[in-house]
Symmetry: C3
Amino acid sequence: EPGDHAHSVEGSGWWNIPYPESFDVKLLPKPQDHIRIDGNQFVDQQGQPFFFRGLNIADPDKLVRDGQWSQALFKEIADWGANTIRIPVHPIAWRQKGKQWYFDRLDEAVIWANSYDIYLILDWHSIGNVEDGFFQHPMYQTSLVETRNFWADMALRYRDVPTMAVYELFNEPTVNYMGVANGLGDIEWDDWLAFLESNIDLIRAYDDKVIPLVAGFNWAYDLRPFAKAPVRRPNVAYAAHPYPMKAQPKQRTKANMFKAWEQVWGFMADDYPIIATEIGWVQADGYGAHVPVIDDGSYGPMFTEYANNKGLSWCVWVFDPDWGPTMIHDWQFTPTEQGAFFKQVMQQQ
Amino acid sequence: EPGDHAHSVEGSGWWNIPYPESFDVKLLPKPQDHIRIDGNQFVDQQGQPFFFRGLNIADPDKLVRDGQWSQALFKEIADWGANTIRIPVHPIAWRQKGKQWYFDRLDEAVIWANSYDIYLILDWHSIGNVEDGFFQHPMYQTSLVETRNFWADMALRYRDVPTMAVYELFNEPTVNYMGVANGLGDIEWDDWLAFLESNIDLIRAYDDKVIPLVAGFNWAYDLRPFAKAPVRRPNVAYAAHPYPMKAQPKQRTKANMFKAWEQVWGFMADDYPIIATEIGWVQADGYGAHVPVIDDGSYGPMFTEYANNKGLSWCVWVFDPDWGPTMIHDWQFTPTEQGAFFKQVMQQQ
Amino acid sequence: EPGDHAHSVEGSGWWNIPYPESFDVKLLPKPQDHIRIDGNQFVDQQGQPFFFRGLNIADPDKLVRDGQWSQALFKEIADWGANTIRIPVHPIAWRQKGKQWYFDRLDEAVIWANSYDIYLILDWHSIGNVEDGFFQHPMYQTSLVETRNFWADMALRYRDVPTMAVYELFNEPTVNYMGVANGLGDIEWDDWLAFLESNIDLIRAYDDKVIPLVAGFNWAYDLRPFAKAPVRRPNVAYAAHPYPMKAQPKQRTKANMFKAWEQVWGFMADDYPIIATEIGWVQADGYGAHVPVIDDGSYGPMFTEYANNKGLSWCVWVFDPDWGPTMIHDWQFTPTEQGAFFKQVMQQQ
Ligand SMILES: [Mg+2]
Ligand SMILES: [Mg+2]
Ligand SMILES: [Mg+2]
Ligand SMILES: [Mg+2]
Ligand SMILES: [Mg+2]
């Protein structure tokens, strides 16, 4: 019972702006399972374990500008063996392009992904402290209200769409501002939990199947506070961005890396499903090398072994030759070092 | 003691933007009583009971676009017997047109209304959950700060103006988002009360005579929470929007409708003055028919009998041929079914 | 460890907007002491007492429009004997011109001021109640988030720059709205303290040397609430704007004025350093005369005697012929009454 009175049958006034509509699931080319959570695993409609393993693409806004937003891109990714594409939406682009533009692009992404039985992880790609309004870069600036509106819009738009499987609520939360401050900062864990839970409640008001994915501070690396104070909502998954330089054991052996990962985020996999939504590396002299992604290449086999041990899902950053660490040298999709590695892993899955 | 130093005598910089000014009451063509609250009634300056009974017009922005914003419109409404016009200001139009544009229009409305001894109810026409920032439609989007600024601006502008009699703080509050959600939502009654009271305090800082009008959830239908936790401020009136389909007794007899109304909102009239600021109906096959306004026509006599029994004030929605349920078929003011009915009732009052 | 992945080496997208950078202190023409707080005094690098004594200029935006933003202006001010320039940044101009424009102007101001061994007090020139979003005039409108972002931007930009000595967090806080209301209002002292402290923490995350300067209500006049509840951070100074008409003793003798000042704000100087960042007067028939700046001229010697007794720092309002009370009749810098007085005092310091 909308209770709306201010509309007319025709006309161009603001009172004739259409009401929001949901994506019509009949437009999906193929049947596709709804993935859900069972204990600490994702499972398909038969209850069999499912692992989201794929990659990140750039923001649709960038891909359109580059002339790369097309079904061919999704086909290439399917050929690489990915079953998942994570799509980052940057707040600055969301405001510039507007809601309808992103609906149009995400509608296309849903149809293309579905046609290759790929799942989508939609990522609100901010970095910073949304409570206090500080962000690492202008492209990440958003607000509590804009974030809520984004998720409300998305939850209504894509409810009942199995392809749109995961909503990553906030890409990389940080406490200390912008990464250039002295390490101070003042977000309380309770406030962060309340932020996450209120967005989950909001999404659930529209969609009871989609999987909310939540992160901890230190750029989505540290899940330890959740051990004592987890999200008080069912059917939630946890994110980690365990880039190679995040763990700093004294000796960089595999055992020490596994131990470091286990202590800070991996332990959560015993109780909850985890998706490492950003992993990847580049050599120190490679394109886009920067802290914390520099590695000699041992990271790839090490991480995938740990992921197999723990039953983790993951997405490599990033299938775009301009952003880094990249999987491809160019738009002919020539694999980089990490690109070649993860392509082989994905094709064998 | 403004303590302002940053002004110059001439120039065009932002430091020369004029300070806000109040409407000059000497511009009113006629003397007009200040209406005030006495117990559960409105009374005029002689202490005699007064009932606001009239109608809603569209937003001034729409009427100007349609070429219908003129004293002739107010004269027509006076001829129909209305002693009250409710003016909805939609947040989207408020932002598009700006404060000064609305001041200019409302100054005109005050002068025109006063010349026919009509009172104005100014309505901040949002629908949704302003605490969480969710709204039924883009035209209703606003924020806590914008709402406060609107009322501060209005309270300063129209203080001491008897014609501007009532400020309806927020048209239709809802808990569950946009009316399309699954019924969840999370505004606390204490938060809603705090919102209402803080806006009342703000208005009172400028104007100690105007009557604040407050609503409950379910699109301004449900006043029951106020029974236990009323607004903790004196001289406040309560609003209800009892469209025909809001009450759903098993058998739609007059006695059952009266009982349903009594339980959900009418009971408040025993202690406080009530204005049903939106009432009205249309046949199921009529123009603009939608939930909750569809009725076979029995609603009109039923509601006015109940209003007479209880001493209620009311305004019919809406004196505009494009919006619905409408009172007029066209701008020649040809009455619709409800238009003809309420015209007769108003002319006999 | 910024954790940023979304950048490319070349291109014009939003992902290539440069990251914020700090001002390069090597650009300063001269060495200059960092001024710091020791007990209730400011001291230089040798630990000797230092007094900020100078004047306010207009907003850089106004000065640029008037063709007066130049090193020549700073040289003239140095010739008048000022060791301090307070620069008011008005939120309306900040939004219109943008961050980079102000960085460019303030970079210039830092270099020019440094070349004359002058210190800068940067002033976020709002007047009103930022908690509730009410401001005395459109030029003062801002928000909690915009204010925090302003200070974060400035603190990163000018860290380690001794010339940028003081950050005045919020020019003139008021409780009752806009100075035209009936005296009501609802900001709690705890909320104001929390606002100040959170901005100080934020600034400290970038800069551990700059001096935060905080004010009380009544347009930065009343410091009494701080007596019981001071800012719970070290190395903070207090501001007062003791214009002549703020103290209203029954008989306007020097003794009574000193007593009135002592009771409301001057007492704080026993424990904390104070800067009276706005002082000044004009005759009742002078340019820009308005409450609370009107005086017969006895204010000048009276205030400076009190300031000397108490060891206060101060800045005269305002070195701009258009704003009032002004120190100069014109851009040939012809001194007004107060201009001539304070020029002599500053030149003798
Ligand atoms: Mg879904
Ligand atoms: Mg001032
Ligand atoms: Mg009035
Ligand atoms: Mg990242
Ligand atoms: Mg400094």
